[in-house]
């Protein structure tokens, strides 16, 4: 279980997170929605230790991680797999080396076993025969799938998805949504999805949380979010230019 208590983070004068509280249950898929620049990516980067908060605490399975040193934190990050917005594949490595990277670091398995697990992970995301390709030879959708294969290869307990449907066409985005649901069903992982794509949100979410002005202002299952009385939530989920949220 993940518990975030009173998280604050500023970059210069820009106060991104202002006392954010959130609880994510084991095995659920929580979708965090919010405008671009509202701090969604900042939030998940805190979960994995990429950013340190100015104030507040994060508990992963009861262990507080924000004050951990990098070496201790690495034992916790082993529990996480992350799909980055642009997939963040290492462009000097082949697909197989990308997918096997975490396996090598976290497990120390011999090369033959890593090769087998790489193939299995790629097959889970529907890719075969691409092991020797370089990232620049892949399409946007394939990159995302390789990124997901890399994130699940070492069997993490929690998968973080940063804008999984951004930058790809609606059909490929839907295929990614199916993969997110499949990961949950097959691997029984906890998922945290950051997005502003409402179609994807409704398809994958067990619960949804709306991030606005550095705090979670509404949380509930998709039906509860749809019927929320909060005008900010209504404006966002219906994608209206007019309303309490400033456009620019």
């Amino acid at each position: 279980m993940i518990r975030i208590v009173g998280l604050h983070k500023s970059f210069g004068l820009n106060r991104v997170l202002q006392g954010l509280n959130l609880k994510i249950e084991h095995g659920e898929t929580l979708v965090v929605i919010g405008q671009s620049g509202s701090g969604k990516s900042v939030l998940i980067k805190h979960l994995i230790g990429l950013l340190k908060p100015d104030k507040g605490e994060i508990f992963i399975d009861g262990i507080e991680i924000t004050r951990m040193k990098d070496d201790e934190l690495r034992k916790i990050t082993r529990k996480f797999g992350m799909l980055f917005q642009g997939a963040a594949l290492f462009d000097s490595m082949t697909v197989a080396q990308n997918v096997g990277f975490g396996l090598e670091r976290y497990t120390g398995y011999p090369a033959e076993k890593i090769e087998k697990l790489v193939k299995e992970s790629l097959a889970k995301v529907g890719l075969q025969g691409v092991e020797g390709l370089m990232p620049h030879e892949l399409s946007g959708g394939m990159k995302k799938r390789v990124g997901l294969a890399r994130a699940i290869a070492y069997k993490p307990e929690i998968i973080l998805y940063d804008e999984p449907s951004t930058g790809i066409d609606p059909i490929r985005a839907d295929a990614i949504n199916d993969l997110i649901n499949m990961m949950k069903k097959e691997l029984k992982v906890t998922s945290v999805v950051i997005t502003h794509d409402m179609v994807s949100s409704y398809k994958v979410a067990d619960r949804m949380a709306m991030l606005y002005e550095g705090r979670i202002i509404e949380i509930g299952n998709p039906e509860e979010i749809k019927s929320s009385k909060n005008p900010v939530v209504q404006q966002f989920i219906h994608g209206k230019a007019e309303g309490p949220i400033e456009n620019w």
């Binding site: 990098d70 690495r74 990050t77 797999g81 992350m82 980055f84 642009g86 290492f90 890399r150």
Partner: protein
């Protein structure tokens, strides 16, 4: 060090800081903030050298990138500097001491090249070739979240990216410098002996008599220091790159400018600190 010398060093540092501030229009607070960042990165990198796992594959790749691939540019630089230095010492001795004294140019060429010119020129060339590439590669990785991905997959970005580059530069710069010394001194010899007809025995005897092993070693020590500077500044600029392609471009330029200035500065201080026997 006597007080007057301390004042002298202090004055030079003040001028350098002032120049840097003028050229880059930086706030003093920002300048010290960046100096702190650089200091922290250096400290972390030196601490991580001894920590396992060692990134052997990346280290070997970097040895090739920094060392083997710099051979052509170092060869050209050393050969032509040796030739031109040989030419000017020949002219100098001929003009001021008189005909027949040109064979005394050997020790001067060897000393000047091995202690100063070759380490500096190798440093500047490698900073242009390798330091900029490091900043560009790491900067691109930073803006495309590949460094975050490294961290999320259990690799320490400092241990993975900075340590192997720093060690490779630390090892390869002295190797390149030694190679450049041999080539440069050989080019000076070639010009004087084969082109200008200077007596080869006297030239060689003078060179071997007055050039000391320490002169060459002190040049190699400088080169090792320049290697650390090039790698740390290149990686530092890459790691702080932001704002897309423009940011990467800026980081690359800064990496070359900062490391070149630092090489010239550190060379002066090392020349002062490293002992030189006069008699």
């Amino acid at each position: 060090m006597p007080l007057s010398e301390n004042m002298h060093v202090l004055l030079i540092w003040s001028i350098v800081l002032l120049k840097l501030k003028m050229f880059h229009r930086v706030r003093p607070s920002l300048f010290f903030e960046q100096l702190g960042e650089l200091g922290l990165l250096s400290f972390k990198t030196f601490k991580n050298i001894f920590k396992k796992p060692w990134e052997k594959k990346i280290f070997i790749q970097q040895l090739e990138e920094v060392g083997v691939r710099s051979f052509p540019v170092v060869s050209l630089t050393a050969a032509f500097v040796g030739l031109v230095f040989g030419l000017q010492t020949y002219v100098g001795f001929h003009r001021y001491v008189g005909p027949g004294s040109e064979a005394y140019g050997g020790p001067i060429i060897s000393l000047g090249l091995s202690k100063e010119f070759i380490p500096i020129l190798v440093g500047l060339m490698v900073s242009g070739r390798v330091g900029s590439a490091m900043a560009a590669e790491i900067g691109t990785m930073k803006i495309t979240e590949q460094i975050d991905a490294l961290f999320s997959l259990g690799a320490d970005p400092n241990r993975y990216l900075v340590v192997p580059r720093m060690l490779a530069c630390f090892i390869m710069l002295p190797c390149l410098t030694l190679y450049g010394d041999i080539l440069g001194i050989g080019a000076g010899y070639f010009y004087n002996v084969f082109i200008m007809g200077v007596n080869r025995f006297i030239y060689l005897k003078n060179t071997l008599l007055y050039l000391e092993l320490w002169d060459v070693i002190s040049g190699l020590i400088k080169a090792a220091a320049f290697g650390i500077i090039i790698a740390i500044i290149g990686c530092w600029q890459g790691l702080r790159a932001e704002g897309g392609a423009e940011g990467v471009g800026r980081a690359t330029t800064r990496a070359v400018v900062y490391s070149s200035i630092s090489i010239l500065l550190v060379n002066f201080f090392l020349s002062k600190v490293l002992p030189t026997r006069l008699g």
